[in-house]
Symmetry: C2
Subunit: 189 residues, 2 copies
């Protein structure tokens, strides 16, 4: 990563890869994408985002105020540790075909119940205040997963509203799973 | 948290609470503990640790070098997002009595296989170099969980060795689940 373009090993549909693609787009970092047809667990891509933040501080993805930073990280971790790992494909495979939809919906709704409440006290235009932060990079890919699993969004007006605002931004559109080099033709938009 | 002692809502056995207790002990922060008999998911306590690091920088729990910081966060996230959420009690309850031990062992060993390999390139005395970092705060509670689930440690010599060194330190002993105000008598040591 010292010399030349950074390389992102990415899978079009992975919410973890998508988070990083949004960060790269927001920071205007030119990168090479190597598609890997593999679903990886967990939120390890948050380490990449924190690294990008420390080495390319503009625009900020973490607010300056320590309490607001803690809110951003709490929301990010709620999604990256509390929701995503419980509904990723490798886990759903283990859970089995008959119960996997209910399992995923339960994991997402119990996380979103907490998230909706947190956002009511932290959100402005976006998850924490009026600037795009790491929390927003986590929110949009998770909402997309929720939609794939047909979660009912009626109880989550704040989540839905912030998600819509974010999807209007260019960085979230460019990085969208429907527009990646490894997106199958039938899923392109 | 502005005035008076910080309050930690803690459950003696929770690996997430234990991570924070180690951070508080290392930083010498006096705090009030409120035991809650509740098992919470996920790694949301990493937001607390990052907040402590930013507001009480000494001793450091993240190295100064951005690449080393990224290693620390990668290891922390591997544990807090990639392992712990898949083997916490609320998930094991859903998995069911007959398969829960195998499920937990699989979640831990597939994470530890990756971790053992990463540590071989990052570790010194501890997970990343020779200073205690946030990665170590995540390692020790996860190893304790692995022991409870009777994981075979033969393939993990690096993990075992670092874990032993860390358990010799006072901050890890004071914060240990066997020595908390809500530890049941039969589990005290």
């Amino acid at each position: 990563m010292q010399a030349g373009k950074p390389v992102l090993y990415s899978y079009f549909r992975s919410s973890c890869s998508w988070r990083v693609r949004i960060a790269l787009a927001l920071k205007g970092i030119d990168f090479e994408m190597v598609p890997v047809n593999l679903i990886k667990d967990g939120g390890q891509q948050l380490a990449i985002i924190e690294y990008l933040e420390e080495t390319r501080p503009t625009p900020r993805l973490l607010p300056q105020d320590p309490k607001k930073r803690a809110s951003v990280r709490m929301i990010s971790d709620l999604i990256a540790s509390g929701i995503q790992p419980l509904q990723n494909l490798s886990i759903l495979k283990k859970v089995g075909e008959e119960t996997k939809l209910t399992w995923a919906q339960n994991a997402i709704t119990s996380g979103f119940n907490a998230l909706e409440q947190i956002l009511q006290s932290t959100a402005g235009k976006y998850c924490v205040g009026d600037e795009v932060t790491m929390a927003d990079l986590c929110l949009v890919p998770q909402v997309a997963n929720a939609e794939r699993f047909k979660v009912d969004f009626t109880p989550y007006p704040t989540i839905s509203c912030i998600n819509k605002r974010l999807l209007a931004l260019e960085a979230f559109q460019l990085s969208h799973p429907c527009r990646q080099p490894d997106t199958p033709t039938e899923l392109r938009a």
